[in-house]
């Protein structure tokens, strides 16, 4: 149990996907202007990450590896993610229209989010078991959502801040990311 907890903390905080692994930077800078949309995006990523991790782990362990075609992983994983995103979009639209209105526009963007494909690769490369895969996917998704939400809160304030003209917008967002990264270094001693 302790090891799983350590894995969760490591994925969510210590080796945070955005701040220390550089995965999912596009939505991090693109969708972090409003707190509400950042949280929705984070939730959508979390959902897809967990589903994609489990499905791709099962396919890799029971299909690709036994038949010696592990080199097909890149093609298979991206297809799994693309089709999962489609299925989830349809499913959410049928069952919960409110959730669809909140997450709908973010779902198609997730196909090309490297955080999702990244977590599926990390799971098989590290040789995780199914339970570990599940924990690492949830940890990665929670960490992603957390940092995205923090970033959007800061950027809402930055809108009204007096920033030098050359730094307005993206450059100052990169500086904020750097400071967030430094503060996340403190989690390094936790595990």
């Amino acid at each position: 149990m302790n090891e799983l907890m350590a894995l969760f903390l490591s994925m969510a905080l210590i080796n945070n996907f955005i701040l220390s692994k550089f995965l999912g930077l596009c939505p991090f800078f693109g969708v972090s202007k409003k707190l509400k949309s950042a949280v929705s995006m984070g939730m959508a990523v979390l959902l897809v990450m967990v589903a994609a991790s489990v499905v791709s782990w099962l396919l890799y362990s029971y299909l690709l590896e036994p038949f010696g075609v592990a080199y097909m992983a890149t093609v298979i994983f991206i297809l799994v993610i693309a089709s999962l995103v489609q299925i989830m979009e349809l499913a959410i639209r049928r069952t919960n229209i409110q959730l669809y209105n909140a997450l709908g526009i973010y779902l198609p963007l997730i196909t090309t989010n490297c955080a999702v494909l990244g977590v599926t690769f990390i799971n098989v490369r590290e040789g995780f078991t199914l339970v570990e895969t599940l924990v690492s996917a949830v940890g990665a998704g929670v960490g992603f959502t957390l940092v995205l939400a923090m970033m959007s809160g800061i950027r809402e304030r930055l809108e009204i801040a007096d920033v030098p003209v050359s730094f307005k917008g993206m450059p100052v967002a990169f500086l904020v990311a750097m400071l967030l990264g430094i503060s996340f270094l403190a989690f390094g001693g936790m595990v």
């Binding site: 550089f22 995965l23 093609v75 196909t111 989010n113 490297c114 494909l117 450059p171 990169f174 750097m178």
Partner: protein
């Protein structure tokens, strides 16, 4: 637009990393040394040029509704080729680029150029576009990794040869530049500098 214009626009005016802010993940993650930057650029350029070429060739026969999945499969196959080739011929490079090698699949530059340019333009134009975008990506990576390697380690190395050593920095390098945060810092200063100089527009 002429071939030359298509080639030129990717390098500065719509540089994928510095202006369009696409493909940030690999650009920031592997820019810890010049070697990595060059390796990554070569891999991305191979995929980008071939993807644009193939997409442009088949653009008239690709049904509109399934074009994105078709592009993704083409790109994923090309990435698999690059990944296996680098694993075979340069295991060290493969190790240091790590997970970012297979992740070229989801590099927004490649899918973006296939969808926005190659699916609508002739083969020559698409090739010029891919070459320009690839060079622009490489230029941005080289600039970022130049500062990160120089300030973070005090030396500048290229393929095992030392190009430059800064005496004071060598003993006390500014380690933050090698850490992930350093990439954000360099990127922030670089963007602000380019804006200040008027190379790219202010917001």
């Amino acid at each position: 637009m002429s071939v030359i214009e298509n080639l030129k626009k990717g390098i500065m005016k719509s540089n994928p990393v510095l202006v369009l802010l696409l493909g940030l993940c690999p650009a920031l993650a592997v820019s810890t040394s010049l070697d990595n930057a060059i390796g990554m650029t070569a891999a991305v350029m191979f995929v980008l040029i071939n993807a644009n070429l193939i997409v442009s060739i088949i653009r008239k026969w690709t049904p509109d509704r399934v074009r994105i999945p078709v592009f993704i499969v083409i790109i994923a196959s090309l990435v698999t080729i690059v990944d296996l080739t680098i694993q075979a011929f340069s295991p060290d490079l493969s190790k240091s680029l790590g997970i970012f090698l297979p992740l070229i699949v989801v590099n927004c530059i490649i899918l973006g150029r296939a969808e926005a340019f190659a699916s609508k333009n002739s083969i020559t134009d698409s090739l010029a576009d891919a070459l320009g975008m690839g060079l622009g990506f490489g230029l941005a990576l080289l600039i970022i990794s130049f500062f990160r390697q120089l300030l973070g380690t005090g030396t500048l190395e290229l393929f095992g040869q030392t190009l430059l050593e800064v005496p004071g920095l060598l003993d006390n390098p500014m380690a933050i530049f090698i850490l992930p945060m350093g990439a954000f810092l360099v990127m922030a200063c670089l963007l602000a500098f380019l804006r200040y100089m008027g190379v790219i527009a202010n917001e």
